[in-house]
Amino acid sequence: MTHQAHDNSYVSYLDYKGKHSGIWAWLLSTDHKRIGLMYLTGIMLFFVAGMSLGFVMKTEMLSRGETLVDAQTYNALFTLHGVIMIFLVIIPGIPAAFGNFFLPIQIGAKDVSFPRLNLFSFWLYMAGGVVALSSLFLQGGPIDTGWTFYVPYSLRTNTNVSLALLAAFLLGFSSILTGLNFITTVHRLRAPGMGFFRMPLFIWALYSTAWIQVIATPVIGITIVLVIVERLFSIGIFDPALGGDPILFQHLFWIYSHPAVYIMILPAMGVVSEIIPTFAKRTIFGYKAIAFSSLAIAFIGYFVWAHHMFTSGMSDLARIIFSLFTFLVAIPSGVKVFNWVATLYKGSIEPRVPFLFVMMFIFLFSIGGLTGLVLGNLATNIHTHGTYFVVAHFHYVMFGGTVIILFGALHYWFPKMFGRMYNEKVATVSVILIFIGFNGLYFTMFILGYMGMPRRYWDYLPEYQLLHTISAIGAYILIAGILLMLHNLWKALRKGPKAVQNPWGGVTLEWTVPSPPPLENFDEIPIITHGPYEFPEAKGVK
């Protein structure tokens, strides 16, 4: 591998001087890499905020009765935890941060199709974040509806629902614009020779995700607007007192929010498909199968939304149909997992930090996926609906899936993004702590839920004491692991050793440009002549 082909004869995107200086050189930059980095900063800050709320909640549940906060505060805590983690961390997470940074590089482009629109969508993200946080401190108090904003309670409560909804609307708009930008970029700006089937699988995943962002998000937009209008003018559309049907709110909410689950997980799957070939030094097994399964997941994702509503009182026919389609989603997901595992077979595997995150992902996501079958099944759903089982399930898929890969992507691309390397030993220790803590925290919740512990409750019966205690201890270990990881990365950012151009021996285009990349990525646009994962030294890699 050639190291630093360009030596110091270039100016990296971190160093160039534009017409603005100081903070404005970032806030007004239309460079996709700077925008990606700003998203990453925002996402990590909000993640820490959401994690702190989780910490308070778990400490409250450490013992029965009031431990730290009262019941109303607890309602606000789980709502905010959900709103922050879903709308501000997981949904923008990988696409907005790593997608922005690497999508143009991986297809051999200098930027996205609409750079200014890209900046605008970052501002919308920040505006959404600010509005969401301001709803905490303004009169009325933090919202207590749960992140799903179900009517009619969200119409009746006196907390700042409208403001939080406005935040969600802005964030949704931001997400739409990012998606629109990515679709156009993929169609229009691929390097010469890069056909659709020579695109890295991360791009396929982002492309599929972008379609969901564009097509599904407007539905939540209108739903949000209607709830706000309902609160202001009582138009009656969702208000049962005026003839409205609250179940229709749930339909509209989940028409977006279920596909949104795939907005969250598909990019993570894309990252996995990048990391695995790099560390197995083998071309991916079943490239086309993985590429199409991304599209298939995005598509089937539109047919399953009402599996969140099995106990809402909707028609039996709908319940059967939605349950059936829910099982179908398992097929493309399974296709991916099997192809990843097949790629590893007879690969020369280097179990370095990003790879460890991927292994953790496969383990946790499989548990999350399999317990999803329990919930997708009508009969067992009745038993587990609204219990800790659901909480455990979605933390396994959302946290164990998306956020773990967010961390993995951070470790994979960190040397490329910042041109510095972190301490791999410390990182490995943090991976182990996160793994132990995670399972301690959430696996107990499966058992608790199965035993009947309802979600969102502030107190519990004595028989749940032991498991709640284990769960809280797991949370503390998990948080310790995350803090260690963040500390390690922070230290690397400040004084880590210089990273080489290609520390892992990857073959996608981002590894052909210097670390950190120059302003417009490529001196000369590359001409693509082969697929994304062809390893020249395929046999004997040291």
Partner: protein
């Protein structure tokens, strides 16, 4: 690296647009005049059919889709398909409660 202009070609002429407009007005008059007649269960589908014909004309001629790349039609197809899925699957609930 050359600059490539990807202009769209010229579309329908003035006369063509006016013709389409006349058809659209005609369909509007039609849909208003038949609205007084009771076709039973067919009333709503008939009104929607006329509206659909009108929108096909607007999309194809006024919005130039007839002259655009295939990719635009594919995009529109995907978007409409998903919209229809949302309608049909919601109907599975509300029509069968």
């Amino acid at each position: 690296m050359e600059i490539t202009h990807t202009h769209s070609k010229s579309h329908t002429g003035y006369g063509g647009y006016v013709l389409i407009w006349l058809i659209l007005i005609g369909l509007t008059v039609l849909t208003v005049s038949v609205s007084g007649i009771d076709f039973g269960n067919a009333t709503l589908p008939l009104a929607l059919l006329i509206a659909t014909i009108k929108s096909v004309l607007v999309i194809n001629i006024f919005m130039h889709i007839k002259h655009e790349d295939k990719i635009f039609r594919l995009f529109i197809g995907v978007a409409l398909l998903i919209l229809i899925v949302a309608f049909v699957f919601t109907a599975f609930d509300v029509f069968f409660r």
